[in-house]
Amino acid sequence: MSRHRWFLILILVLIALIPLSGSRYYVFLGTDILIFGLFAVSLNLLLGYTGLVSFGQAAYFGIGAYSCALLMKRVSLVFPLAFVTAGAFGAIAALIIGFFCVRLTKIYFAMLTLAFSQIVWALAFKWNSLTGGDTGFIGIPFPQYLDSRTRYYYFTFAVVALKIINSPFGRILTTIRENPERTEFIGINVKLFQLVAFMISGFFSAIAGALFGVFNHSVFPDTLFWPASAEVLIMAILGGMYSFFGPVVGAAVLLYLRMQVATYTQYWPLILGTILAVLLFFFPGGIVGFVQTRFAVLRGSR
């Protein structure tokens, strides 16, 4: 366990040191990874921890991106306020949508989250006067004190470090994943916990979205179209949904590979599909799950 901790600290320090390399490319990639890492972690609160497959998580990411941008440009709200409000909007949207979704289970739950996210996408796409529709919403101001990418990077990193999972609440979520029936019989209102998890997930997805919008100075409806929901699911599964940082690893691998592969070939989806198929068959615990079992084997053989 303690070796585990050290390993984690080592990785965190490495991440924190990236800006010192002075490479704009890596800082850019690093920020992107952390934003999507946060997004994937927030999805994984549902997927890996509560056992709920949300196929519409991009809706909250998009809601966060749009509300933060709109609040800053249209209402001239300062960034910190707009940022937190965007998160709150994500949570409220998740409360409303989740209210209906937690009544269903398994595939029906997934399909309903998808249906709602498509409604939100349609709104962003068609409501031209508010969102700019298909042309997107551009020219989002970058906050003064976060003007350097480096500082923005650290800021994102600080947000990602937030960790609820290791609390009693997080533990109860895992019991729901493992066995909702038994959880009911230790005195837990399972639907209520699922709804709260849905809201927390919506909040952090929206926070990630807000960071994304500001980071790119723009938001497009594509951000909340269904392939975006699928991509974040892939990140979580690729990295490993049974560990807290697994999805961050998934985001890192996916984003890095996509950048690298794109310079050689246009068949990125083919490569991604192959990786995913191999992973699902041979390493259902994802990259982190695989590394962990390897470590366990090594330690055991000693």
């Binding site: 609390s167 009693p168 109860i172 895992t174 493992e178 066995n179 019989f185 230790i186």
Partner: protein, 246 residues
């Protein structure tokens, strides 16, 4: 009376699984329900614990009408239950299984910011010892031997400090030796803690050795109840139950 069941009825698509069953259990009593397969024992348990909605009739637990309550609410009133098929949290360790039940019972489940690991360590250890799992603390519970998993489920139920225990076939699938030690364990804990116990069991030797009172269910109806001697002597029971065993 800790539990009163009045004229409870449940049907599935016209098939009456539990038909106007009435009985009550006194505080501290060790009571069992027997009956051939399909007699409605598990359905009856599901109705009492709120796992299935009751069609007609009333359930009163500890002076409170619980007929239409949710399972988690009835659990919080002090009713613990185990299932016929193993019902644990397989990808959590043995320790975490028990600890989760304690978190829920002690009202810690909505705590977002405390670190969970050190919580209720002593209490969890005590329960592990009580059910004989202290040596398997950090094992993934899904990989435990069958008998141990049954004991773990008992531990999860005990963590809720219930006033009444409903155990559905606590020894199903166990070897004779496991059965004996489990029954001895359950009897000892129930007596020490003053639990009220209501259980179903297929092993007649077990039923007659520890029950103070036996209820006999047949085709959804209660056909007899009384002390082990009375039930053994009852001609109806002999006919429909013990007769079938031959």
């Amino acid at each position: 009376m800790i539990l009163t069941v009045e004229n409870v009825k449940k049907s599935f698509d016209g098939f009456v699984a539990v038909n106007r069953v009435s009985f009550s259990v006194e505080k501290g009593e060790l009571c069992s329900i027997i009956g051939p397969n399909g007699a409605g024992k598990t359905t009856l348990f599901n109705l009492i614990t709120g796992h299935l909605p009751v069609d007609e009739g009333k359930v009163i637990f500890n002076g409170i009408e619980t007929t239409h309550m949710h399972a988690y609410e009835i659990c919080r009133l002090g009713m613990g239950r185990s299932f016929q098929r193993i019902n644990i949290f397989p990808r959590l360790t043995v320790f975490e299984n028990i600890q989760a039940a304690l978190l829920a019972h002690r009202g810690k489940s909505f705590d977002f910011f405390t670190t969970v690991e050190p919580l209720f360590n002593e209490e969890t250890e005590a329960i592990l010892e009580r059910v004989g799992l202290q040596d398997h603390r950090d094992v993934m519970s899904g990989s435990l031997a069958y008998g141990f998993q049954k004991q773990l489920e008992l531990g999860i139920v005990l963590a809720g400090e219930p006033a009444m225990l409903l155990l559905d076939e606590p020894t199903s699938g166990m070897s004779a030796r496991e059965t004996n030690s489990t029954i001895e364990l359950i009897g000892r804990i129930a007596r020490e803690k003053g639990f009220t116990l209501l259980f179903t069991e297929h092993d007649m030797a077990v039923v007659f050795s520890i029950s103070e009172r036996i209820l006999v269910l047949h085709q959804g109806q209660l056909i007899a109840e009384g002390s082990p001697e009375e039930v053994r002597a009852n001609p109806d029971v002999k006919k429909v139950y013990l007769g079938e065993a031959r």
